[in-house]
Symmetry: C2
Subunit: 259 residues, 2 copies
Amino acid sequence: MKRELSIVKIGGNVIENSSELNNFLRLFSALDTHKILVHGGGKKATEIGQKLGIKSKMIEGRRITDAGSLDVALMVYAGLVNKKIVGTLQAMDCNALGLSGADANLVQAYKRPVTKVDFGLVGDISGVNASALKNFLEMGMVPVFCALTHDQKGQMLNTNADTIAAELAIALSSNYKVTLYYCFEKQGVLMDKDDEQSVIPDINWTSYQQLITDRIITDGMLPKMENSFRALKSKVARVCIGNISMLESGKSLYTTLSL
Amino acid sequence: MKRELSIVKIGGNVIENSSELNNFLRLFSALDTHKILVHGGGKKATEIGQKLGIKSKMIEGRRITDAGSLDVALMVYAGLVNKKIVGTLQAMDCNALGLSGADANLVQAYKRPVTKVDFGLVGDISGVNASALKNFLEMGMVPVFCALTHDQKGQMLNTNADTIAAELAIALSSNYKVTLYYCFEKQGVLMDKDDEQSVIPDINWTSYQQLITDRIITDGMLPKMENSFRALKSKVARVCIGNISMLESGKSLYTTLSL
């Protein structure tokens, strides 16, 4: 039987609040499966960028990554945030190993082709070095990824953390029974966005289509849902969406996706 | 017979000059032994710190690391500098893995005890996880260390890069025939500090004592020499001091230390 692997993605809402982050890291370190953490960045990068005189450009609500913004991402995501998480996990007896996609060539990407918009130094993933990751996991290590990849030609690239988590899950699903957890600020996918209690506990591919038609699931949630179903269609065992308390066993409400 | 391992330390003078850094990385990636890179930080941290309104305090010519300075070190050393080096090495087919001492608990330290001076968040090394490092090396990976360690209680610490390189060399010397290279701006240890050509090709423990007595080796060089001889006394095979061209086989002048 395949061994279990939990891949957990956290975003800015967890990272920016140090007590929330500590709560999360305690729950994460207590998971008794193999595990991988993927973290986004949050507002700290914007704040540091502003102090350094580097403005973050947005087009259609999406961040454009120029050379200056990439430097800020390297500093804040790969440096400050990643190493603080690694240090904290180590203190919790969780043998964290901080990584970007360039390290050990773990996540390869190419610069997103320019169509209407040039997103700049943004990478779309072309490959995952699953065998190196498997070795790390078998050595008892806990990979902690920031959302940066590389093009194998010396260029680091900014990559969406949800997508990295999904691609890692897919790449490792032939070796492990993978559960992919997307932690965000809500308790799950909501029936009514103004009612925090209206969590939809289960969504399958058919009900997902209906929820889109009914405009229950709209723009903001679509990329996460697409990543989730792509993962499920690629042999990832389970995808869960909710806030950090979904890592506590059998306690909280969250959304589980299936095909 | 033990396999060869080269541990190379570079400082600010190499990192701050991008063409020098590329030249170095080309030489480093061409070394046909197992290898580890340890890099310091340089002026970039001071520059970033100033822009962020964080001043670096100095006492007796040594940097004091307060919480703000440590954040800058995490950003610049563990983030910006480390990942750019890793990305560049990957493009040179060198399977770099960027690391701090917290990652995989590789370099453990404790906050330097306060005597006359409180250096702040500065770590003295208490242990090296040689078995994890050996696994990385046997997997064909090339560890790239920034000069940060951790206290295993969640605190990252600033640690001298020369000392990290020496401690890694010592810890791995029972498994490998280790050569420790200290790259700096000069061609080697100089007989006359104003004459770049006056490199002393060989120094042993006896001649070292004489060079101190004769005031040829003075304050600035002493810590590097102490690290070197400590390494040699702990079974490190060879220590070389010079500029980056000492990595080219059989070409340049540099200083070789022995007992």
